[in-house]
Symmetry: C2
Subunit: 333 residues, 2 copies
């Protein structure tokens, strides 16, 4: 289409990870098993549980869905029985990963870090917000904060360490941005988003905040926006090797001002009526919709050079990659 930005489906990006996941799966001695715990009657959670099941089975993973609370019986409350179901799965040696379909952050802390495919355990969380990329797998057994393991020296974990587990949706978004050249491979690992300005519209604990941290860890300047004034997220000082001057600043910019200077705009607002105004976008920017609803206007590609309408197919592969890694980490301890 003349004068339009590119519409980029996530499929070719997912394909590269599907191959990686299949190869790793072929090397396992036991088929990894993922337990999904559904404790809500909400339609998006049910839909996502079924999507996970289908994807797992297509790829050759075991998937067991445990229904509890409102997902199990009409009399039970939302979220009822989640912790018990998690504990059971934690203790079952045949379970390699646990995913909780429940839109509240709390219960996930009960999940064993060795089975935390969503990367929500506080040790992974701490590492993410401190730009610590590797950890000693034994350290997951201990209580207390992670020992400050590794300054970034490259993509590969130093001897005795493994990669920290990252939350799937933010990681999938980063992989999409890597794929389309927002991350510049010529720059050193850990600094490849340096020079890019990104606005993230969402500040939840599972998408917006970890995504802003991931991007800032890689050198980007990130405006994180929800309903209030946007905040600028820079890297934490810890383990920041490359451009330590990108530190957290409060921003006085409005969303419109942020968008006017943003090379990348990522929106994940769970609302059918919320739309990012195309008029506010910088000409030639890159837009990524993460919400189930479309957060960009129909004419977004009049301004955007590329538009990714959904990342779910990459997200599920990040989940399975985490599952495979965690299975491996356990055997190493």
């Amino acid at each position: 289409m003349a004068g339009k930005g590119l519409l980029l489906k996530a499929d070719p990006i997912a394909d590269t990870f599907r191959d990686e996941v299949k190869t790793a799966l072929d090397r396992t001695t036991r088929k990894p098993r993922l337990v999904g715990i559904l404790a809500t009657s909400s339609a998006p959670s049910k839909f996502y549980a079924e999507f996970t099941k289908k994807q797992c089975e297509d790829l050759g993973f075991d998937f067991v869905l445990k229904r509890t609370g409102a997902a199990f019986s009409e009399e039970a409350g939302e979220g009822e029985g989640v912790e018990e179901a998690i504990i059971e799965a934690n203790e079952d040696p045949n379970v390699d990963g646990i995913m909780v379909y429940y839109p509240i952050f709390g219960p996930q802390q009960v999940v064993s870090p060795y089975k935390d495919v969503e990367g929500l355990h506080f040790k992974f969380h701490y590492n993410l917000y401190h730009n610590i990329r590797f950890l000693e797998p034994e350290s997951l057994l201990k209580s207390g904060l992670p020992t400050a393991v590794a300054v970034i020296e490259g993509e590969n974990p130093p001897p005795g360490t493994v990669k920290s587990i990252l939350p799937c949706t933010p990681l999938a978004i980063v992989k999409c941005l890597e794929h389309i050249g927002v991350y510049n491979k010529i720059l050193p690992y850990g600094d490849r988003a340096y020079g890019r300005t990104v606005t993230v519209i969402n500040r939840s604990e599972v998408v917006g905040r970890p995504l802003a941290a991931l991007l800032a860890n890689d050198g980007a300047r990130v405006f994180s926006e929800y309903t209030k004034r946007p905040q600028v997220n820079g890297q934490s000082d810890a383990a920041r090797k490359y451009h330590p001057h990108h530190v957290v600043h409060p921003s006085n910019n409005t969303l419109q001002e942020c968008l006017a200077i943003s090379d990348v705009v990522i929106s994940a607002v769970p609302s059918a009526s919320y739309k990012v105004a195309t008029d506010w976008l910088k000409d030639g920017c890159i837009c990524v919709n993460v919400a189930a609803d479309k957060n960009f206007e129909k004419n977004v590609r009049d301004k955007a050079s590329m538009y990714i309408p959904a990342v779910g197919k990459v997200t599920i592969l990040m989940l399975l990659r985490n599952l495979l890694r965690l299975q491996q980490y356990k055997t190493n301890v």
Copy 2:
């Protein structure tokens, strides 16, 4: 170096083109001959002539230097005898390319378009400024403007046409920007710099102006700066397939304002005292020095994510590539 942008020498970029040039040279039936016409006593011209000679000989090309005017005798004036030397080389069937080391644009118009390795002939010039990328080789024999040959459909010339010849230094800069990811290969050919803002500090006919046109042709927003207020160069309307809203605007921005929003800064100011202020650069931008003198401050990499200090090694390969192409174009007529 912690906290410093990358210093990128042009050598690895030149290497990729050296291989291409060598392969094309191996396929020629007669070793291409380049005639350099030196008509000035100026040191940079003499230096560049000797550099060309060495590079040609190293790669297996014939190079003949003709001295005339002030380069031939102390009594003669600067530029004397240039036109006669050009006409002689035009008529010599053993000469495939002509290069004039003379810092004035006029005499180059006498060079036959079939031998114009510098891409300065008015037909090439017209094509560049109208974003016409291909031409029928026979059309070079005719007077008058080129027939409007080709809308961009891809990198390959449509049947019956060949690539227009582009000036070597601006083309070398574009190749460097392609190599380091400023051009995004996912975007369609002809639009790969869309979304990038570039400041070009130089408005000469051989570097700054054609470079601004090349970048704008590929979708960039270009601020072209010399000593006066910068101008924004957008693509011409002709043959602009992708984002026709990037049209020429006069700009009211100062250089400082341009630099604050520029992803790429290219400087080619022939002065040892001229320096682009590091303070004015956008954090994480890419800087390219094209001048023989260093136009950036020593601390440029405190702000720039990448710095290319010189592009001469790529320029010479663009010249030889043009030479090989022109030899081919002649045989096709």
